[in-house]
Amino acid sequence: MKQSSLSPIKGASLILFLGVLLMGTASMAASPAKSKASQKPDPMQVVRGAKAWKNNCGRCHNLRSPKELTDAEWDVSVTHMRVRANLLAPEAEDIKAFLKASN
């Protein structure tokens, strides 16, 4: 009983440690990266988005056509997928731009 509970605790602390480490580095890197002012349309964003869409959005299910949803719905759905699939935020933004330019 004692012995079998030792390794799980180790495992748990490892996960916790990794988590804290990740959160630490993440929040350090986070502040400059959060570019809310990217309102200027960047034509390359759509191109990057198309690539990221092709590479990421067909991993778990079939690629869904941009025509399926309206712009506002893509905003919500891609955020939903960003959380579900642990996507990088800039990638998700590019994908949104691509989907909204192609529906």
Binding site: S27, A30, N62, D75
Partner: protein
Amino acid sequence: MRKILCGTSALAVIFFASLDANAQSIQNTDPSSQALLERIEKLESELNALRQAISQSAQTADAAQATAQNAIKTVNVVQKQTAKAMQGRYSGAESDAKWHLAGYADVGFVGSDRPGADSFVTGKFNPGFHFQYKDLLVFESELEFSTTSDGETATELEYSQFDIILNDYITVVAGKYLSPIGQFQERLHPSWINKIQGAPAGFGHDGVQPTSDTGVQVRGAVPIGKSRLTYSLALGNGPRTTSEGGVALEGVGRDDNSNKSLGGRLGFFPIPNLEIGGSYLTAKVGGYEGEAVAHAETPIQVSSDDPLGLDQARYTLWGMDGAYSKGALSARFEYLKSHRGTLFSITGEEPLGDVLPRLGMEAWYGQVSYRLSNVGDSDFLHNLEPVIRYGQFRISGHDELEEENAQDRFNVGLNYWLAPTIVAKAGLEWRNFKVLGVDSEQLYQFQIAYGF
């Protein structure tokens, strides 16, 4: 004859004379010419009037044209504004709150080589709701409606969670969420995604894979080079002992012990098309406390006076998963292993309590599918996708659970995709039970699923 000739010449003389007179002077005219003249004058003035009228109507026409042009300009402006307004409406540029109604539904038929087991299955209707406020928060929830075998409507809250987006790398999830352990529950179980009707053995309800949990998660991704590392760490109410002495791995609205489960998954991409993940979960479980306790308002009493220290047992789970997808090909693999220590618990059969031995569970599956989108030139062929899956589920330390669930399971299926989210599936499933004396079973499965 002469008389006639003379008369005609006289008339002619008069006629020519009068013409001549007309030419010489307008005044000196005879009455008939005067009348003619008057008529001409009248015609002339009428002509003038007409000219005036015409020029007036030309002006009117010009004015009309100008008005029309103005109207066209106005229409253009309005059109542009409407387009802008529509854009504003749909891009959500102006609205802080957006929402999306999604989900899926399926219907099906399952036949079996066991007598009397063929049946239409109503399938499920799972509406999903997503509400987003700016880039800050998403609330997402999914319900599951289904009809039980005795005709009742079953409703379940599949998940109901806040996703608080802290920054580019960290999202905090709070509520009831699908378990991030492994892949099947969180990513593959919806019937429009799952390529085979039903879960692999051990990955559905009553399996080794947790389906959901209630608690908080910290999750996200951090870039490493051109790729990323994904993480999901969860602190939840954790598993609970069932009345049969098994382990229930579903999110409960209330913890039965103050010990929380801690677990999660890390994933990375050694090559762009391949994702590898590792999962871990640890928790303590108490004994089963009876039906009423789970719903009671009073605090749950943990019997800590147990001299053997068997009132709580350690539960651990670890696993690995891999997913490769490239074009038409998709291949997946998942492995999970869990154990729970010896535990003193009430069970359905032993109301006074019993010592449950160490419970071990292990399950894995591999699945390969290939969409025939590049085979031949028939549209029908292009929509077909053959799939195979093989998996095993093993249980030790609980005879009843082992008898019911321990098996090798082999599936072959053929899917026809009517659209990227609409699929008709036909499949065969062989269940080869591992406990001696339990007959193997062969199932025929048909299903139509639609994700929206």
